[in-house]
Amino acid sequence: MSPDTLLLAAVFLPLASGPLIAITGASPNLRETVTVIAGVITFGFVLCISNLVNDGVQPAVTLMELVPGLSLQLKVEPLGMIFSLIASGLWIATSIYSVGYMRGHGESNQTRYYFFFAVAITAALGVAYAGNLLTLFVFYEVLTLSTYPLVTHERTEEAMRGGRVYMGILISTSVAFLLWAVIWTYHLAGTLDFVDGGILAGRADVPTLTFLLALFAFGTGKAALMPFHRWLPAAMVAPTPVSALLHAVAVVKAGVFSVMKIAVYVFGIDTLNSMGLSQWLQYVAGGTILISSLIAMTKDNLKARLAYSTVSQLSYIVLGAALANELGVLGGSLHIVTHAFGKITLFFCAGAIIVGAHKTEISDMRGLGRRMPFTFGAFLLGSLSIIGLPPFAGAWSKWYLLLAALDADQLILVGVLLVSSLLNIAYLLPVAVTGFFAPPEGEEGGLKEAPVACVLPLCFTAASCIILFFYLDPFLALARRIGG
Amino acid sequence: MIEIDVGLINYWVVIFLMMTGFYIVMASRNLIKKMVGLSLFQSSVFIMYITAGKVLGGTAPILTKPGTDYSNPLPHVLILTAIVVGIATTGMGMALIIRINEAYGTVEENEIRSQDAAE
């Protein structure tokens, strides 16, 4: 296959599997086989593309003219490569996990669930490979819409309310701010292509560009910068695999990825830095990191706690972009990877606890670790990676972010990062500690884990957190090449 | 003060008719009276067109010898069309009023509204 067809195939294969999933809906085994196979092939394609990128090839496809003069365009660059590897790789794990979870939990309408999941993956890959800002916006919106049916999968009153917040915030911010910013950029620069060094340099004065950056930063509501973060906890009404892949990896990472990509390829790191455009964003991100960590500590519901933890961790990546130096971009993009593995593990565990023990509140999980050692063991590993202790993957990205903050002489932010790690310990470790060491309520049962299809993926992702500490080079190599 | 030009008396007539018709359309609560007002309103426009085409002392444009004054025939033709339209509108409106009367048993707007509100 030529590089360009490979690119098309990678993006649209999940979408193409959608109708197949719908057709095979009558037979669950067949349907789930289709999902997993589609995931494996997609990941294979993405790997092939990453080999090409390592060889210096840049596949690019122009799809169609959306409005005269502006086309839907796919183009691979290192940052997008990182995101696409994560999204497609973890789709396989999530698909297997979904099989265990959805069956174990007795969910209805599973065909619809797998269908929209596949659509969402196409949208996420589209965001990753977007060749210009318009394409990014288009797939960003498709991602919002295709995940709505997943978030509201239960069709209950509560799901409806959660969905309202989800759609309300994501659509409002993207239409009112992001679209405005995109059109404004087009008006100022005359182009929307992603170019190394940015397209806005010298096109407008400092106040205008600062305002534009604010529109972009808050407009990508998926990046969950405060005060537009409410949708993420609201989205936790979704089945856990959705929370795991979409609200720890694909959707939220699409948000921060967009912020990063806009910072690097629309504004340009040098422009941001020399004009001091993003200083305020550093503080907003720092504030979000601390405040949401504090909120996370107050949550007893495990998924809610993880959601606020995600809000906090996402701002690390925004911070990386806002620091606007090479180390910041490096740290931020690596954090996309390391946080993805850590957080998906935690969500997988939360789901496994729901399926295996029907518990959602942390205070109810006393002693549960003895019955579910694998799950809680994985939870511990995931927590440590998020906290950023070596030898876990999370250590690297935090390390680089710290260096970046030092490099920018932002001692306050160095402090923020350190305090935040302490807060991470304070809200993540108690879960595992409660599970393993607190005396269990009632009778002591034997080993009672969630279905194998649930436990296997979470063990895999937990192990990855360690493996990636030693074997981060491929991602590091890609991250070093961001921005030319 | 606007000076009333006697030579423009025809336009004052037009404006008077127009405003009378328009007022009836707006103020009357009876559907049939509204149609009367509407017809009046339209008629005023017919007069406006026709008087605009009239030349004092002009005849019909059947030219017997060169140099005769004649009135512009085009407005007449236009207004013939407009009259047809006006009749069609009145007819349509009356037909609707008949059906409204069948359905509601009244042609008073207030009563129709209260019946609708009661539903």
Binding site: V175 | L38, A52, V85, A88, L96, Y104
Partner: protein, 492 residues
């Protein structure tokens, strides 16, 4: 031979077919005739657009009398585009007729329905194709009168009062329009549009022409339902038979907007309207007020048809803002939104017709659980709704793109913000339907089947157009931009 007479054939064919429909009496025959005529007109309109894009302006002299003495039909890319739009909607919507009309109208009225439909179609085509100002009035009344009849055919008795109200307001609007024409005629002695455009500049600052301008503006604003002259529209759309609503919502106001553009830009001239009278200071605020007020009112409607009707008023607001921005991009936004809104609103009303047929009504409460009972129709409705919101890959997005770009080009960023905020209100009213259809339980346990294919196919054809022209706006955007340049007097 036929190629040469296309402009008049577009009018004559449906006009002759209309009385034939009554004479045929059998409703199947009338239906077949109407379908054939509409599709023939569609192909003729397509050919006309193709010709005018390659050859430029086509001037057709009725009866061989040269303008300005005779009546001239004048086709340029602007009105060829609108002709194609009207013919396209007319041809698609008529396919929907067999089931819908038989279900909603008594049998004796079905032939009359096709007659009125074709007459309305003729009137709209005529308003668009003609190059003679008085002729516009005549066709305007043909379309209006047949529309009153069509609306009055609604099942609910409120259709009659709605139709009556529309008749009164429509006639007042048309009469205002004709007063304006008369005043212009007094000053120039001509009614041919091109001739008027040539002669008016010398008379521009006389009070007569100013009065004419005012009368025409108000008269047309009434017909195109510019806020606050829209009061006739919601009830008329809400109580008319489903198919009628779909057809007039997609075409009638659009053609009026076209006539408005024609008078402003071709006849009075952009310079007069915008640089001297600053009409933009009037259009943009009214357009924005329409967007907000009508959208907000739409959120609180319990009847879906009424909700969409208010949304139509809001969409007219978008078009008028585009005109008011007074630039090529702004006019492109208006022209492309003419097409885009017609396609999506037509599709939405057709979907509502499917709901009405199967669920017995189109109140929000009737739609509870529709997502499970009528998945195909509901999906269509949602796609249409997304387009109304302006989600990318639908036509609504393309319109919004141009409009916001035009506002930013003009430097009026608050207008851009308001346009975007206005479209967010659409999320609120569309989402009420989504939530009713998917999250709420139906009141009864009746077995409900999906709408018949003859209704689903036209609905999905329009949804297909909504998506197709949203995926690639090269054609619509290209033609709209060409039209905008012509109206602005740039290029040919």
């Amino acid at each position: 031979m036929i190629d040469q007479h296309l402009p008049i054939l577009l009018i004559v064919v449906p006009l002759m077919a209309a009385p034939l429909c009554i004479l045929l009496r059998r409703r199947e025959l009338s239906l077949i005739l109407a379908v054939v005529v509409c599709w023939a007109c569609l192909s003729m309109a397509a050919r006309l657009l193709q010709r005018t894009l390659s050859e430029g302006v086509i001037s057709y002299h009725l009866g061989g009398w040269p303008p300005p003495w005779g009546i001239e039909y004048r086709v340029d890319p602007v009105n060829a585009f609108v002709l194609l739009l009207v013919a396209f909607i007319g041809a698609i919507v008529i396919l929907y007729a067999p089931c819908s009309v038989n279900a909603e109208l008594p049998e004796i009225r079905t032939s009359l329905f096709y007659t009125a439909y074709l007459l309305c179609f003729t009137g709209l085509m005529g308003m668009t194709v003609t190059g003679d100002a008085f002729n516009v009035f005549v066709f305007l009344e043909i379309s209006s009168l047949s529309t009153y009849a069509l609306i009055g055919m609604g099942k609910d008795r409120r259709a009659l009062t709605a139709s009556y109200r529309y008749l009164v307001m429509g006639t007042v609007g048309a009469t205002f329009f004709v007063i304006g024409l008369g005043l212009m005629y007094m000053k120039t002695g001509t009614l041919n549009m091109a001739d008027l455009a040539r002669l008016l500049p010398q008379e521009m600052h006389t009070r007569t022409i100013l009065a004419a301008f005012a009368f025409i503006t108000v008269g047309l604003s009434l017909k195109l339902a510019l806020f606050p002259l829209h009061v006739w529209l919601p009830n008329a759309y809400a109580y008319a038979p489903s198919i009628v609503t779909a057809f007039i919502a997609a075409t009638a106001t659009k053609v009026s907007v076209y006539v408005f553009l024609r008078f402003y830009f071709t006849i009075f001239g952009a310079d007069f309207a915008f640089n001297n009278l600053h009409i933009d200071m009037f259009l943009v605020p009214l357009g924005l007020a329409g967007i907000f007020v009508a959208s907000l009112v739409a959120v609180f409607q319990s009847n879906i048809k009424r909700m969409l009707a208010y949304s139509s008023v809001a969409q007219v607001g978008y078009m008028m803002v585009g005109v008011g921005l007074f630039s090529v991009t702004g006019l492109t936004a208006t022209l492309i939104h003419l097409f885009n809104h017609a396609v999506m609103k037509g599709a939405l009303f057709l979907a509502v017709g499917c709901f009405t047929l199967r669920l017995g009504g189109c109140e929000l409460a009737d739609l509870r659980g529709a997502g499970r009972r009528m998945p195909v129709t509901t999906t269509a409705f949602i796609f249409g709704g997304l387009s109304l919101i302006g989600v990318p890959l639908t036509v609504g997005f393309v319109s919004k793109w141009y409009l916001v770009l035009a506002a930013l080009e003009r430097g009026w960023w608050p207008v851009a913000v308001l346009v975007l905020l206005g479209s967010l209100i659409a999320v609120a009213y569309i989402w009420r339907v989504v939530e009713a259809a998917y999250f709420q339980k139906p009141d009864n346990e009746r077995e409900i089947s999906e709408a018949p294919l003859s209704m689903l196919i036209p609905t999905w054809l329009l949804i297909g157009a909504t998506l197709y022209f949203g995926f690639t706006a090269s054609f619509t955007g290209g033609v709209a931009q060409r039209g905008a340049e012509i109206l602005m007097g740039i290029g040919s």
